[in-house]
């Protein structure tokens, strides 16, 4: 059997799959962050908590109402998006004329409050969430075993990322969003309701976090810290891709997931820091990010 530097294909492909799955979450989460930052100029530190909220809403729908995975996959992002809508109207909208720092502090505070509430209510041990029957089991590909649910996570994230990219880059609505990112005053003077567009964009961005949370629920245990552990890596992904760049967030998300997986194969000690090393290099050589526009 083919081996590379003493690494068996099973190990290599297994880690690449793990990297691709992590990359799927990085891509969906960083996409939401990029959409929000692009239009609102808000660094949404609540994003990790909103991802956790998505997982918890899915779990609560199942535990308390008997709602299954597929309906939860639809309902939880809507619930999380609606909570984002309220947050934007009641708090974030008051900060747009102030420095970025205020938005960052507010969203960081909200994240701590959300995590605290769920930690208090459910502890930190985590709640189990079953893989839906349709996606149970897996396929033996000869060189590796591919669990169906993990394959679904990759496929679902690719579909969501592509649909979001298409909506933003190829539709009239997306043109409004891109234009409002550049010059919201002029877009408003064309008769477009920019404040409503900003509100709905924020809701959509956090809805993506909620969607990622539901996808993650059967893989990782549903616990209050699941977002906090991930969000720092996701911010690094966004910085590497270019703040506000939709394509950058998607490509960098998947790419860094794979890089992380490969690092785990060849130099495991560096796997938890490789993304931050890349971020430091990118910031030194191309501060606007790989896909960002220079100021």
């Amino acid at each position: 059997m083919f081996e590379l530097l003493g690494i068996t294909p099973q190990v290599l492909m297994g880690q690449l799959l793990l990297g691709l799955i992590n990359g799927s979450f990085y891509a969906v989460l960083s996409l939401g962050l990029a959409v929000i930052f692009g239009l609102l100029n808000i660094i949404n530190f609540t994003h990790g908590a909103q991802y956790m909220l998505g997982a918890f809403v899915a779990w609560m729908l199942g535990a308390y109402l008997g709602v299954g995975y597929w309906w939860a996959l639809l309902a939880a992002p809507i619930v999380v998006g609606a909570s984002g809508l309220v947050l934007e109207r009641l708090a974030l909208s008051k900060l747009y004329h102030l420095d970025h720092l205020y938005g960052l502090l507010l969203t960081f505070g909200v994240a701590l409050i959300l995590q605290g509430i769920f930690r208090d209510a459910y502890g930190i041990s985590g709640q189990p969430y079953q893989i839906p029957d349709l996606l149970a089991g897996g396929h033996n590909l000869g060189f590796m075993f591919l669990p169906n649910y993990r394959a679904w996570v990759v496929v679902a994230s690719v579909i969501v990322c592509f649909a979001t990219w298409f909506a933003i880059e190829k539709t009239r609505l997306g043109a409004y969003l891109r234009a409002a990112t550049e010059n919201p005053t002029l877009v408003g003077a064309f008769g477009i309701n920019v404040p409503r567009m900003i509100m709905l964009t924020y809701a959509f961005g956090v809805g993506l976090a909620g969607f990622a949370g539901v996808l993650a629920a059967p893989i990782y245990s549903v616990n209050p810290n699941m977002g906090a552990d991930l969000i720092i890596v996701v911010f690094a992904v966004v910085v590497i891709g270019g703040m506000g760049s939709i394509l950058g967030a998607i490509v960098t998300g998947y790419g860094l997931g794979l890089v992380e997986g490969l690092t785990r194969v060849f130099y495991p000690e560096a796997s938890s820091v490789v993304i931050f090393v890349i971020m430091a290099i990118v910031l030194m050589l191309k501060p606007e990010g790989l896909f960002g526009r220079s100021a």
Binding site: A179, T181, N183
Partner: protein, 241 residues
């Protein structure tokens, strides 16, 4: 300024005692003028006189404003910019406002139609053939003249019948200035009403029915096109040329 807009018919746009502020800075000190349907009028004046601020105030973009702005008899002073646009007023800013992340075609199609009667894309391409040829290009990759044409073209689609054009000839080659002049005359023939802010007096004189002179945030004089020849010295004194 009481004679502004002297003539028959109710004014389409009437500005009375318009005061405006940028933050704490008081920049408009009681602007008064009227524009009748189908007219082209200019706001002339030196840099910093308050011409652009007047257009921004009409569109609701200036930070704070008081006084009265009526369009077709409807008061606009308390409306946000998006509602003012929906009343049938379109604004073409001095810096053109072409969006870098949008193609020429996307820039053209960006402003939503707010009423019937806007120009079709075919008619716009007749007026500005370059825009058709370069419709897939990034908006900001166009030359200055093409960007200006795009900035004017995209507000013609909307159905707005009152156009506010802020220095459309600024920094452009004479041949492009002539083309924009032909366009403005064509729009006038099609019944558009235009308020034009200009520094280029020769250009303004070639297209407008009346000229309002703005100085220190007020309209200080109004000169009809037919009286222009007799008042050249007066105009030159106002403009400092």
């Amino acid at each position: 300024m009481s004679e502004a807009g002297a003539g028959k018919g109710a004014p389409l746009l009437k500005v009375e005692n318009l005061q405006g502020w940028y933050g704490e800075s008081h920049v408009l000190h009681g602007i008064d003028f009227e524009v009748r349907e189908g007219e082209v009028v200019t706001l002339l004046g030196r840099n910093g006189a308050g011409k652009t601020s007047t257009l921004l105030a009409i569109m609701g973009i200036l930070g704070k404003r008081t006084g009265s702005i009526t369009h077709a008899g409807r008061e606009l002073i308390d409306l946000p910019p998006r509602r003012i646009a929906r009343e049938g007023i379109a604004f073409c800013p001095e810096e053109r406002g072409i969006f870098a992340s949008l193609s020429v075609e996307e820039n053209l199609m960006l402003p939503p139609r707010i009423a019937e009667g806007g120009l079709s894309v075919e008619r716009i391409h007749d007026l500005f053939p370059n825009l058709k040829e370069r419709r897939r290009s990034q908006g900001t990759k166009l030359s200055g003249g093409e960007q200006q044409m795009l900035a004017i073209a995209r507000i013609l689609r909307t159905g707005a019948r009152l156009l506010l054009l802020d220095e459309p000839t600024e920094g452009l080659a004479p041949v492009i200035v002539q083309q924009i002049g032909r366009t403005i005359r064509a729009l006038k023939e099609e019944g558009f009403t235009i308020v034009l802010v200009e520094q280029n007096f020769r250009f303004a004189a070639s297209v407008a029915d009346r000229h309002h002179v703005v100085d220190q945030g007020r309209v200080v004089d109004m000169i009809p096109a037919e009286a222009l020849e007799d008042n050249k010295d007066r105009i030159q004194a106002y403009l400092g040329v």
